[in-house]
């Protein structure tokens, strides 16, 4: 068991609670930095590409986590913002804008457009907001087709390579550089995210999530706060979309479909709503499931000569895992990890009901 002694207010504001935590994250950083070395040694970068894909998903996941996990606004339309970021990036690059400008600009414009789209629906609550964003996601494919001159429509569009001061970055020809680039963006966004949560802006997001009425009574403007969260969220999704384009190499009207929007939402629920970690845990699960299914299939086929070819198996398995999480672990994978950690920290004093939600008190006096 560890006690954190407060020596100054500084201790609360720092990124890490205590030195051991800083050491662990330092080791994690070393690990992710050294990962390509391993793949370079075995001379096969296929898996590294998959890991890069997980990181891109995690970036989009962080965007959605901010909106849903920290501001309490569900969205079933984040693939739309990814599409915006991706196509903006393609068009900027096509127009000769350097990647270092095109990439952040695509994210920011996706964020701004996302906010404009969202403003009219921000007054909606819970399920209605989900439905409105769902509708947006369903229309995305049609819009991509309609905007053919910029998107290539059904035929699709090739995504130009990244060029940073003469250094070419391409998913296939320079997978290591691409990995480091995505990793850098991911780490930068994690840092931004953490900063947000330890300052007034982030606290106003969680305040709106937990009690709109109290948030207003503390001086928080609901519309502005939600719009801000939407902007940041859609910006992150836009950046992820641009990277996704680079990773895919070629995008069509079906790339950023409804399934992707839903996957993103499932991802953060599985990972753990309300935790930055949750975006990463969720992305890992989403990244692993298809690989696991493919491996399981070929294992069954080679060892037992059983061929399973059920269409939609992935979605079904995914849905099954999700239902299990909602039933048994509403706090997600990160919540499970917290419990395990607390168990060992407090051993042998852990109580089973430690994480049980307190029954909430009657809210009869709520102002509508």
């Amino acid at each position: 068991m560890r006690f954190v002694f407060k020596t100054s207010y500084d201790a609360d504001i720092q990124l890490f609670k205590h030195r051991a935590q800083a050491v662990w994250y330092g080791l994690l950083l070393l690990l992710v930095l050294a990962t390509p070395l391993y793949f370079a040694a075995i001379g096969d970068a296929y898996l590294l590409g998959e890991i890069t894909g997980v990181l891109i998903l995690a970036i989009a996941g962080m965007g959605l986590m901010l909106l849903t996990g920290h501001t309490g606004l569900p969205s079933l339309g984040h693939a739309t913002f990814m599409a915006l970021g991706c196509y903006l990036n393609i068009n900027f690059l096509g127009a000769g804008v350097p990647w270092l400008i095109a990439f952040p600009l695509s994210g920011l414009i996706a964020g701004a457009l996302g906010t404009m789209i969202a403003l009219p629906v921000l007054r909606l609550h819970g399920v209605y907001l989900a439905l409105a964003t769902l509708a947006m996601s369903m229309l995305t494919s049609d819009f991509v087709v309609m905007a053919e001159p910029w998107t290539g429509g059904i035929a699709g569009a090739a995504v130009p390579d990244i060029n940073i001061f003469g250094v070419e970055v391409n998913r296939y020809s320079t997978p290591y550089k691409f990995y480091y680039l995505v990793l850098f963006v991911a780490i930068l966004l994690v840092w931004f995210y953490r900063n947000l949560l330890r300052t007034p802006t982030g606290r106003s997001f969680t305040a709106v999530r937990d009690s709109e009425i109290s948030a207003r009574a503390m001086g928080i403007n609901l519309t502005r706060t939600k719009a801000m969260s939407f902007f940041l969220s859609a910006t992150a999704a836009g950046l992820a979309g641009a990277l996704f384009g680079h990773s895919a190499g070629y995008v069509t009207n079906e790339t950023f479909d409804l399934v992707m929007s839903i996957t993103l939402l499932l991802m953060i629920v599985i990972g753990g709503l309300g935790f930055i970690h949750g975006a990463f845990f969720g992305a890992i699960v989403v990244g692993i499931i298809p690989v696991a299914i493919a491996n399981g299939r070929s294992f069954l086929a080679t060892t037992f000569d059983v061929n399973i070819n059920v269409p939609g198996l992935e979605s079904a398995l995914f849905a099954f895992i999700l239902i299990c999480f909602i039933l048994f672990e509403p706090m997600g994978l990160y919540g499970r990890w917290l419990k395990i950690r607390t168990y060992f920290e407090l051993f042998p004093f852990y109580r089973k009901d430690m994480f049980k939600r307190q029954k909430s008190y009657l809210k009869t006096d709520r102002v509508q």
Binding site: Y9, D10, D12, I13, F192, N195, L196, R198, T199, P200, T201, G202, R203, S204, T206, A207, R209, D210, S211, I213, S214, A215, R216, A217, M218, G219, I220, N221, L222, M228, L232, G274, R357, Q358, S360, Y361, L362, K363, T364, D365, R366, V367
Partner: protein, 263 residues
């Protein structure tokens, strides 16, 4: 000098007149209590001051400003903080984070400097923490500092809500039933705190409370309401012995129980 002035305010919910032509003033530095049977319209008056409701008629002025020209989220910036009858805390945050939200009206940095954690954002954050730490000390909340609200007992939540309001350094504190659901000892603590808030911090307090013991102990002036109408205003003793008040409470419980035993 009067801090809060409410003039002839009326609010209807459909056919029900929840607040009927009520006027009152809260003076600087005083503790003003609103009493009355259930459904009298006390909480509704708080919600009117908070600008959650628009009155049909009347005016609300605070510190020389017309509150009715403002929205709910602008009210705290004048120095009005409040608690809720049924506790409205940010459940999935710690006590510390809840109190820090109370500092929202004092923030000076925007989204951008927050995201990059600029030196300005950092020094501002240090100031907020220092202010919140004082409140934690004042209300003896140290043991709960890093606990999530979800797991706290009811009595502690009430104190945290008071702390969150205090953290905003208000001029006027609106307390909706600060002692409801509290034990005798907890109610006593609450009384001491309210006195300290008034005398040491110089904050004016307007409170709704059914516990006449607490009301008589801490308030300078009391207004009794029933069915949205003012019955009497004066000292606690005056109001309790007022015939209209006694009649309004006839058959109902609270005030007669604790109230008569004191007079």
């Amino acid at each position: 000098m009067s801090l809060l002035e409410i003039e002839n305010i009326t609010l209807r919910f459909g056919g029900l007149v929840a607040v009927d032509n009520v006027s009152l003033t809260v003076n600087e530095g005083e503790v003003f209590a609103l009493v009355g049977p259930n459904g009298a319209g006390k909480s509704t008056i708080f919600n009117l001051i908070s600008r959650f409701y628009d009155p049909a008629e009347g005016r609300i002025r605070f510190d020389g400003n017309d509150l009715l020209a403002r929205t709910a989220d602008q009210v705290p910036s004048f120095g009005i903080a409040r608690t809720f009858q049924n506790i409205e805390l940010f459940e999935q945050a710690t006590v510390l984070q809840n109190l820090l939200v109370g500092r929202h009206r004092h923030r000076k940095t925007g989204m951008l400097s927050n995201i990059i954690f600029s030196p300005k954002a950092y020094s501002e954050e240090l100031r907020h923490r220092a202010a919140v730490e004082e409140v934690i000390e004042f209300l003896n909340l140290q043991p709960y500092r890093d606990k999530y609200i979800g797991g706290l007992p009811y009595g502690v939540r009430k104190v945290v809500e008071l702390g969150r309001a205090l953290a905003s350094e208000p001029k006027l504190l609106l307390l909706d039933e600060p002692a409801s659901g509290l034990s005798v000892e907890e109610t006593q603590d609450m009384a001491f705190w309210i006195e300290d808030i008034q005398t040491q911090m110089g904050v004016s307090v307007m409170m709704v409370e059914h516990d006449m013991g607490l009301v008589s102990a801490v308030s300078n002036r009391v207004m009794a309401l029933s069915d949205g109408k003012e019955l009497a205003t004066g000292t606690a003793a005056e109001v309790q012995s007022h015939p209209a008040v006694i009649e309004a409470y006839l058959g109902t419980s609270e005030i007669s129980k604790t109230g008569t035993s004191r007079t």
